[in-house]
Amino acid sequence: MKPAPFSYRRPGTLQLALESLAGEPDAKVLAGGQSLIPLLSMRLAAPSMLIDINALPDLDHVTTAADGVRVGALARHAAVLADQDAVRVQPLLAKALANVAHSTIRNRGTSVGSLVHADAAAELPVVLRLLGGSLDVASTRGRRTIAAEDLYVGLLETSLRHDEIAVEAFFPALALGEGVAFDEVARRHGDYAMCGVAALVQVDGDRVVRARAGYLSVSEVPTVIELTDAFSVAVDEESLAAAGEMALAGLDPQTDIHASADYRAQLVRVLTARVLRSAYDDARGRMLARVER
C-alpha cells in the first residue's frame, strides 16, 4: 500500500501554487492529507502532481468576528476546536468537530480540506450547509466565494473548478434566538457515522421561528432539510416525530455493510428528535441566559 509516483511541489506562495495547479490538469492539492493520503496509498487516486500547500503563509488562521468564523485552508480541525472565540461565536463547530475522527487525525486534518473533500459522511460539510456558510476559492483567474448551498454537486464532488484552491471557509455566527446541536451514531467511536444530524433552531420565546437540520451519511451529498413546519404548534414528542418523517422524505438512506437503509432511516428519526430537541433547548437556554444577564 504505497502511493504511485507523482511529482511534488511545495510552493511558497499562493500564486505559485495556483500556477502549478493551473498547469497540471491531474494535480491534486495536499493540505492535511488525512483523506487524500490513504487514497494515494491504496492507489485509488493517482494524481500526476501533488501541490503541497503546507508551506503557504497566512492560511492557518481561525479568525472570529461578530458575523462569524473564518477558517483558513491550513487551520487544522484541532486548532478550530481549541479556538475559544470561534466555538463561542458558533458553538456548532465544536459540537461537530468533536465527532471528526480521532484527535490525532484532527491534529493534521484541515477543516477546509474536509469541506472540499465533500464526503457526505463527514461532519463539516453538513455544518457549513446548515449554517449557510461559504467557501472562498482562488485561482490564477482570481478569487470567488461559493455559497455552501452551491458547493456540493454530487458524490464526493464540489463546484470547485480544477484550477481552484479553497483558501478560506466562513461559518456564520449563531444569531440571536438560535440554538444548535449535533449528534451521530457510528459503529465505533470516531468512525464515520451511520447517520449524523446537525440542527439549527431559532426561537422566539417558546415558539420555533425556524428549524432545520443537516444530515450526514443518509444521502449522496450533505443535505439540509427545512423542518420549521413540523414545529408550528409545539416542540413535543409528536412534532419531533413528525420532523423525523419530514426529514426522511428528503433523504435517501442506503444500505451498506454497517447499516441497512431502514436502520439508517430509524436513526434519522431518532437523531432528528434528539438533536432538534437539544437545539431547541440550547436556543431557549441561550435566550434565558441572555435575559438573566
Binding site: 500500500m1 502511493p3 492507489r43 467511536h189 470516531g190 451511520m194 441497512s260 430509524q266 436513526l267
Partner: protein, 812 residues
C-alpha cells in the same frame, strides 16, 4: 535471599526494549534488503489464461519477477497439507504462485522483487493477466447447494465429513421427555494482529546457508517446510523468529507462499530479500476463521438433564485446507464444555468456498462450540422456566469425576479426557462476581428508567497444552549467567518473563541473570510451535525439567567440591552451600567452570578447570556417563492435553431507539491451574475479552456474492478501540492444578475470547426477549430483528418467545 517467583506478578523483562522502540520485528531487520510485492487475484474464481510480465522486466529497480512457470521441483507442487486426517478425503492446497486457477480474491499469482516496496507495487500494476471467469461459490448455503464447485474434482464442495458418536444420541433424544432444536450461525472474523506477516531472508553463499526471519508462530515448522520446498538440507536452514507483533493463530499456518518465495529469491539474487504484508493484503491473503452453520437437537428430562445431544454443523474452510480439520474437530469435541451428555453424536462437513482460507484463530473452533452448547443450555432453561445456572449445574461433570473420559477423539488424535476442574465452584464464583442473584432487581430498576438490560452467561472447557512436545536447553555459563532456549515462538505473551521465573525457582539464581531465547532453530531445533494455549504448559514444563537437570548436575559437582552430600545442598542467589551452615560455598559460575575440564585457560576463573587443577588422575576428566558443561536439556511430551475452564457473564444494555449495544459489566472466572504470573494471565484474559467483544459485536468479514471482501481495511473491519471495550473486566481465579505436568499449570492464552459469541447472544436475547441466533450482531441487525419480532414493549419473557420461535419441540 531467593523468593519463589512462581505465582508472583513479576514485571516483564521484554518491556524495556519494546518501550524504547528497540523491538526488532521482521520489517526492522536487514536494512537494505530488497523488497517484494505480490500480484493477487482480483477475482474469486477464474482460470488463468495468460500472464504477461514483459512490461515489468524493464522497470527500473526491479530485480526479479516470478510466476508459476518459474517454479521448479517441490516449489512447483502444491503447498504442504500440514495436518492430514483420514476424514479429509478431498484436501486441497494452493500453489506458492497460482498455477492455472485462482480460487479466492487475494491468491498469489506473481511475485516481484525490487529495490523497495514502492517500485515493487509499481511493477505489480504492470503485470497483465488474462482470466477466464468461473462462477464463485460464496457462503455455506451456496457451498452446500453445490450448484457450482470450487474445485472440479471435489463433489459437493465437501472436503471432509466426520462423525463421532458416544452412545446413541438420536435414540436418546427420541425417547427423551423434552426435545428442542436450535439453528445457530456464526460468521467470519480473523486474528488481525497489529503486525501482519513478514519474512526476510539472506543466503550466505560462502557457507551455503540460508537464514530466514519470519513473523511466525512456528520457526521449526517454517524451517522444515523451507528446506523441503527449496531442496536444502535441514542443516542448511536457520529460521529465527524475531519480535512478533501478535499472532492469534494466523501465523501458525505455514509455509505461506511468501515464506518460500522470499528465500527462493534471496538465493537466486544473492541478496537479502524481504516481504512485509500490508493491511489490505492481510485481509485477503491471510487466514480467517469462525464461519459455521450449526444445527442442534437435544433431548432432556424435567430437570434439564441432557439425555442426548445431536449436533450437525457445516464449516466453511475457504478455498483450501492447508491446516486440515483442526478447527471443526475442536468445535465438535470442545462443544461439550463442562457437561456430560450420555449420548452425543456430532457430524460436520467441511466445505470449500471461493474465499480466503480458514485456519485457527484464537479459540480455534471453541467459540463456535461454546456458542452451540451454551445457547442450548439457555434454551432448555427457558423451556423449563428454570434459572439458567440451575440447568448448567445439573449437567456439570462433578469434581470427583476426574479424569473424565468423553470417549471422543480430540484434535491431537488422543482421547478426550479432562484431567481436572471444579465447575460447580466456578459457577458460584461467576454468580457472585456478576451479581446473578441481584440481576432481576437491577433489571426492574433499569426498566423503571426506560432502560433495557440483559444478562448472559457462558461456560467453557478448553483443551490446552496440546502435544506432541516441546524442549528446552538450559546452560549455566562460567559467568553465572543462565542461557535458556526453547523452540516455540513468542508473540507478546511474556514468555521470556514467565520462563525465567520458572528457571530462577529451580536454579536458585537471580532472575536478572537468566536469558530466554524462543523460536530460534539455531538454539533449539526441536520444537512444534505456539498455538492452542500450549506455550506455558509445554515449554514451561520442558524448561522446568531441563533446569532441574542442570540443577542436579550443579549439585553433583558442588557436592564433590564441597565434600558434602548433594541432598544437603541448597542454591540461593546463585551460590551453593550446605543447608543450615556457614561453611564453604561455591557459585553456579564456578561450578560451570569445573564442569568443563580444560586444557587451555582463557581467563583467571577458567584456570581452575585446567588439567593440573581439576579431576583425579585415576579417572577420565569427563566421566563415561557424563558430558562437559553445566547444562540441562529435556523435553516434555504429555500423554494428552490439559483442560482449562472458565465462565463469563456479561450485562448489556440495548438502546430502545437506536439498538446500540452497550456493555455494563463483564465478569470472568478462570481456572488455568496454578498461575505462574497472574499479571500476565490477566493481561491475556483482557485481550481475549476485547477480541471477543470485537467478534461478537463488531468484526466480521463481509463477502459479496462475487467473492469480493467488502471491508478489507481497518476502517470497515471494526476492531474495537478502547471505546468499545468494557471499562473494567472483573476477574476471579480458581486454581485446579493439572496432574499432567510438573507445574500443575494449564493454558490461558485463548480463554478470554472463547465464550464471547455465546455470552453476548445470551445477554442480548435476555434484554430483547427474542432469540439471537446469528453472531456477530450489529445495531442494524438488532433493529431488523426487533422489527421482525415486532416487539412493542420491551420484555424479558424469553421463555415464551424461545419456545415459539427457534427451538421447536418435536412432535412426539
Amino acid at each position: 535471599m531467593t523468593t519463589k517467583l512462581f505465582g508472583a506478578k513479576v514485571p516483564r523483562v521484554e518491556d524495556d526494549r519494546l518501550l524504547r522502540g528497540n523491538g526488532r520485528y521482521a520489517d526492522d531487520l536487514m536494512p537494505g534488503a530488497l523488497e517484494s510485492a505480490v500480484l493477487r487475484s482480483p477475482h474469486a474464481h477464474a482460470r488463468i489464461v495468460h500472464i504477461d510480465v514483459d512490461a515489468v522486466l524493464d522497470c527500473e529497480g526491479v530485480h526479479a519477477v516470478y510466476t508459476y512457470e518459474d517454479l521448479t521441483g517441490p516449489m512447483a507442487a502444491p503447498l504442504p497439507l500440514l495436518i492430514p486426517h483420514p476424514a479429509l478425503t478431498h484436501g486441497r492446497t494452493q500453489y506458492a504462485l497460482a498455477k492455472d486457477e485462482v480460487n479466492y480474491v487475494g491468491e498469489a499469482i506473481a511475485f516481484v522483487v525490487a529495490d523497495d516496496r514502492y517500485l515493487a507495487e509499481d511493477a505489480i500494476g504492470k503485470i497483465k493477466v488474462d482470466y477466464e471467469f468461473l462462477p464463485p461459490v460464496v457462503g455455506i448455503d451456496n457451498a452446500r447447494k453445490a450448484e457450482r464447485l470450487v474445485h472440479d474434482d471435489v463433489p459437493g464442495n465437501i472436503g471432509a465429513r466426520l462423525e463421532q458418536n458416544v452412545g446413541d444420541a438420536p435414540a436418546a433424544i427420541a425417547a427423551a421427555p423434552h426435545r428442542l432444536e436450535l439453528d445457530l450461525v456464526i460468521e467470519r472474523s480473523a486474528s488481525t494482529p497489529m503486525e501482519g506477516r513478514a519474512v526476510v531472508s539472506r543466503w550466505d553463499p560462502d557457507q551455503a546457508r540460508l537464514q530466514v526471519w519470519s513473523s511466525t508462530q512456528t520457526s521449526t515448522g517454517v524451517r522444515a517446510a523451507v528446506a523441503a520446498q527449496l531442496g536444502l538440507d535441514l542443516g542448511q536452514v536457520d529460521v529465527i523468529t524475531p519480535d512478533v507483533g501478535g499472532g492469534f493463530g494466523v501465523k501458525i499456518n505455514h509455509p505461506w507462499p511468501e515464506e518460500l518465495l522470499v528465500p527462493l529469491a534471496a538465493i537466486a539474487l544473492g541478496r537479502p530479500v524481504r516481504f512485509t504484508e500490508d493491511r489490505r493484503e492481510h485481509f485477503i491473503s491471510s487466514a480467517h476463521e469462525r464461519q459455521q452453520v450449526q444445527h442442534i437437537e437435544v433431548g432432556f428430562d424435567d430437570d434439564g438433564r441432557l439425555l442426548g445431544l445431536d449436533v450437525e454443523f457445516w464449516h466453511d474452510h475457504g478455498a483450501y485446507t492447508p491446516y486440515g480439520l483442526i478447527v471443526p474437530i475442536i468445535t465438535s469435541t470442545q462443544l461439550l464444555g463442562p457437561y456430560k451428555p450420555d449420548n452425543y453424536r456430532v457430524v460436520f462437513e467441511s466445505l470449500y468456498t471461493n474465499t480466503v482460507i480458514v485456519t485457527p484463530y484464537r479459540g480455534a473452533g471453541r467459540p463456535q462450540g461454546v456458542y452451540a452448547m451454551e445457547r442450548t443450555m439457555d434454551a432448555i432453561a427457558a423451556y423449563l422456566k428454570k434459572d439458567r445456572t440451575e440447568i448448567r449445574a445439573t449437567n456439570f461433570i462433578q469434581p470427583d469425576e476426574f479424569p473424565y473420559d468423553h470417549q471422543l477423539v480430540f484434535q491431537d488424535g488422543r482421547p478426550l479426557v479432562y484431567d481436572s476442574g471444579d465447575y460447580p465452584a466456578l459457577l458460584e464464583k461467576i454468580k457472585a462476581l456478576v451479581g446473578w442473584d441481584e440481576f432481576e432487581q437491577f433489571r426492574t430498576e433499569m426498566a423503571a428508567e426506560g432502560r433495557r438490560v440483559g444478562l448472559g452467561l457462558a461456560c467453557y472447557v478448553e483443551g490446552t497444552g496440546v502435544g506432541p512436545y516441546e524442549g528446552a536447553h538450559v546452560q549455566i555459563e562460567t559467568s553465572g549467567n543462565v542461557k535458556v532456549a526453547t523452540g516455540l515462538t513468542s508473540q507478546g505473551q511474556g514468555h521470556q518473563t514467565v520462563f525465567a521465573q520458572l528457571v530462577a525457582d529451580v536454579l536458585g539464581c537471580s532472575f536478572e541473570d537468566i536469558e530466554i531465547v524462543t523460536g530460534d532453530t539455531r538454539r533449539m531445533p526441536y520444537a512444534v510451535g505456539t498455538f492452542a494455549s500450549r506455550a506455558a504448559v509445554m515449554s514451561g514444563s520442558a524448561i522446568h525439567l531441563a533446569a532441574t537437570r542442570a540443577r542436579e548436575k550443579a549439585l553433583r559437582i558442588a557436592a564433590d567440591a564441597l565434600e558434602a552430600d548433594a541432598a544437603d545442598l541448597e542454591i540461593v542467589d546463585g551460590i551453593v552451600s550446605v543447608k543450615g551452615t556457614t561453611g564453604p560455598t561455591i557459585s553456579l559460575g564456578t561450578l560451570a567452570v569445573l564442569s568443563n575440564p580444560l586444557r587451555y585457560a582463557f581467563d583467571e576463573v577458567s584456570k581452575a578447570a585446567t588439567q593440573f587443577s581439576v579431576g583425579r588422575p585415576e579417572k577420565p576428566p569427563v566421566a563415561e556417563d557424563d558430558e562437559p558443561g553445566l547444562e540441562g536439556r529435556d523435553f516434555y511430551s504429555p500423554e494428552r492435553s490439559t483442560f482449562a475452564s472458565g465462565m463469563h457473564a456479561v450485562i448489556v444494555e440495548t438502546d430502545p431507539d437506536t439498538a446500540e449495544i452497550k456493555i455494563l459489566k463483564y465478569a470472568v472466572v478462570h481456572d488455568c491451574g496454578h498461575l505462574i504470573n497472574p499479571m500476565i494471565v490477566e493481561g491475556q484474559i483482557h485481550g481475549g475479552v476485547a477480541q471477543g467483544v470485537g467478534g461478537a459485536l463488531y468484526e466480521r468479514m463481509v463477502y459479496d456474492e462475487s467473492g469480493q471482501l467488502l471491508n478489507a481495511s481497518f476502517m470497515d473491519f471494526l476492531m474495537p478501540y478502547v471505546t468499545e471495550v468494557p471499562e473494567s473486566i472483573d476477574i476471579d481465579h480458581l486454581e485446579t492444578p493439572s496432574p499432567l505436568n510438573p507445574l500443575g499449570i494449564k493454558g490461558a492464552g485463548e480463554a478470554g475470547v472463547i465464550p464471547s459469541a455465546a455470552v453476548f447472544a445470551a445477554a442480548i436475547e435476555d434484554a430483547e426477549g427474542f432469540p439471537i441466533t446469528t453472531m456477530p450482531i450489529s445495531p442494524s441487525e438488532l433493529f431488523e430483528l426487533r422489527r421482525r419480532h415486532s416487539v412493542v414493549e420491551p420484555t424479558h419473557a424469553v421463555v415464551e418467545l424461545v419456545e415459539t420461535t427457534t427451538p421447536e419441540e418435536d412432535s412426539p
